[in-house]
């Protein structure tokens, strides 16, 4: 049995479904990327699993952690899971830290809650965590406030805070999106290193395929509230099967491709209030048939490994052709 298993998870806001049945398994120690455009439900999946969505959200389905059901679980159960089993870091580190509380205290809260550390003991551990995430001169800076740190350092503090509860799974929700490129790379390195060090599993939510490939073993591509393709990173990059995934790769600029134009995916993400009857990607898809317009394909395991939700997955010959388009 996998460590976390999500089955048919759906979420609706004010009657508008935004998540249409997610199935996902995460093994211990595994790093999986969740890729997709903003609003496709990547973050909502995990906020729903941890019960962090606002009250108006309607969540159905099942999220099991070591067999324990989280959806509809009492608040105390969820509070015991959050931070201790599953920790989460967010997109905008500066506003994700409480501006009127010293960072040391914010990191220490998790130690008190989940490991019963207090006073000098807690302080020593906070210093160790700050060291571990690469905050220089932690001794002097433990009593500073978040606004006295840069964005990248705030994200490091968020990571230290997440590590405080020694979680088995870290959800990193677009942790590098708000940071500039060099800092992004540093944070990715840090996350990859910490995972090796601690052996925790990680879900890396991002719209940046490159970032995902840097930290993950496996990735799931989401579109309009569904997982449309899942595979291990190498296969996914070598042979994207869903036309949407395929399109995402074609839209990445290639350093060696000369002045060739990027090939964007035409059209826009559908409004969740007015989804097409069939496959949500059909209106933007070159391969769409009448079947696609009336039925939504299920996510099916492929013989070649991986899973795709498409009636007309990109053929390997075609894939081959696209690879040739771009001179190596």
């Amino acid at each position: 049995m996998s460590f976390v298993s999500i089955r048919d998870l759906t979420v609706a806001f004010d009657g508008v479904p935004v998540l249409h049945g997610i199935d996902l398994d995460i093994d211990r120690g595994e790093a999986i990327g969740l890729v997709g455009e903003s609003g496709c439900g990547k973050s909502v999946t995990w906020l729903a699993a941890l019960g962090l969505l606002p009250g108006k959200a309607r969540v159905q389905g099942s999220v099991r952690l070591d067999g324990q059901e989280l959806i509809g679980a009492p608040r105390t159960t969820l509070e015991g899971v959050r931070g201790a089993r599953i920790a989460m870091i967010f997109q905008d580190p500066s506003s994700s830290l409480n501006p009127v509380q010293r960072v040391g205290r914010q990191i220490g809260e998790g130690l008190r809650l989940h490991r019963g550390l207090r006073g000098a003991q807690a302080r020593t551990e906070v210093l160790r965590l700050m060291d571990m995430v690469g905050i220089p001169d932690a001794k002097r800076r433990i009593d500073l406030y978040p606004h006295e740190f840069s964005g990248g350092q705030c994200q490091r503090i968020m990571i230290a805070m997440a590590l405080a509860g020694q979680p088995d799974l870290l959800i990193a929700d677009e942790p590098t999106t708000a940071l500039d490129a060099t800092i992004q790379a540093q944070i990715l390195d840090l996350l990859a290193g910490l995972r090796r060090q601690t052996g925790m599993a990680m879900v890396f939510i991002s719209h940046d395929l490159g970032a995902v490939s840097a930290v993950c073993d496996r990735a799931a591509v989401m579109y309009a509230g569904r997982i449309v393709e899942a595979n291990d990173i190498d296969s996914l990059f070598a042979a994207p099967a869903h036309p949407y995934t395929h399109g995402l790769f074609r839209a990445i600029p290639d350093l060696e491709a000369g002045r060739a134009r990027l090939r964007p995916i035409e059209g826009t993400v559908p409004d969740p209030r007015a989804l097409p009857a069939g496959c949500a990607f059909a209106p933007r898809c070159d391969a769409a048939s009448s079947l696609c317009n009336s039925y939504a394909p299920d996510l099916k395991d492929q013989r070649s490994g991986g899973a795709v939700a498409c009636f007309h997955p990109v053929q390997s010959s075609l894939r081959h052709m696209t690879q040739q388009e771009v001179p190596a």
Partner: protein
Amino acid sequence: MIRFILAKLARAFLTILLVVTFAFVVLRLSGDPAQVLLGPDAPQDAVDAFRARWGLDDPLWQQYLAYLRQILSFDFGVSMRDQSPAIDLVLQRIPATLALTVPALILKLAIGIPAGVYAALHRQSVADRGVIMMSIFGFTIPSFVLGLVLVLVFAVRLDWLPSGGQSSWRHAILPIATLSIGGIGILARFSRSAMIEVLGQPYIRTAMAKGLPWREVVWRHALPNAAVPIVTLIGFMLGALIAGAVVVESIFSWPGIGRLIVVSVANRDLAVVQCLLLVIAASMVVANLLVDFSYGLLDPRLRAKPAH
């Protein structure tokens, strides 16, 4: 930090100077104390003598300079009516006013803030709607209407409480109620929106994601952040401790600062009015200073950077 304090103090002093100047000019331009005190039928030589006695014949700027020199030496003049020092008249009224405004302020804080926070934490519930309705009711009814309605119900109809005067603690109940109801409404409304704003912030989600129990999320993360806007409002209320009861004191014939203002202005008792305005301005300025300094305590981002 020292520079920050000095700058604040300088600005406070300037504010008081402006208030004093404005009061001085407006009072001189808006009516003749001789006419009011001596009556319209007073003989001309009596009026002239009165003006000479109080220096009202001098050019305005001379009077102004003389006045400034006076107050800088803490001489606030004497009442034109009974020659007693203006500052004594003012000071001896302050306790009566504070006897109304301090309990009213305590009620505002003790009821308004918890009600607003509770409403924010139970948004869209019956309690929330109740709080919103009551607070709109509280701050939209003008105090002179509210005071009269309370008198009508509790003094005239039910005969439970006296309608005016100051002879026992029971006399204070209706004026305190009148004074506090509006403030409770405003504070409830304000605390509610401040809390709702804070509860929507990413750091609240972080605190929850950490596994903190909801109580601790509210107490340690939400309330301290909601405190800044609420304290601003409390500052206004503190500033109104001395001058905030003019209408209510008049309705309930409560012999405090408010009554003194009304009577002295009507009589053009220049020294007393000026002294009153000075004391009121000073109390507002002090309240604002307290708020400014408390911001730094509440929010480290607003703290003045220490000089390195």
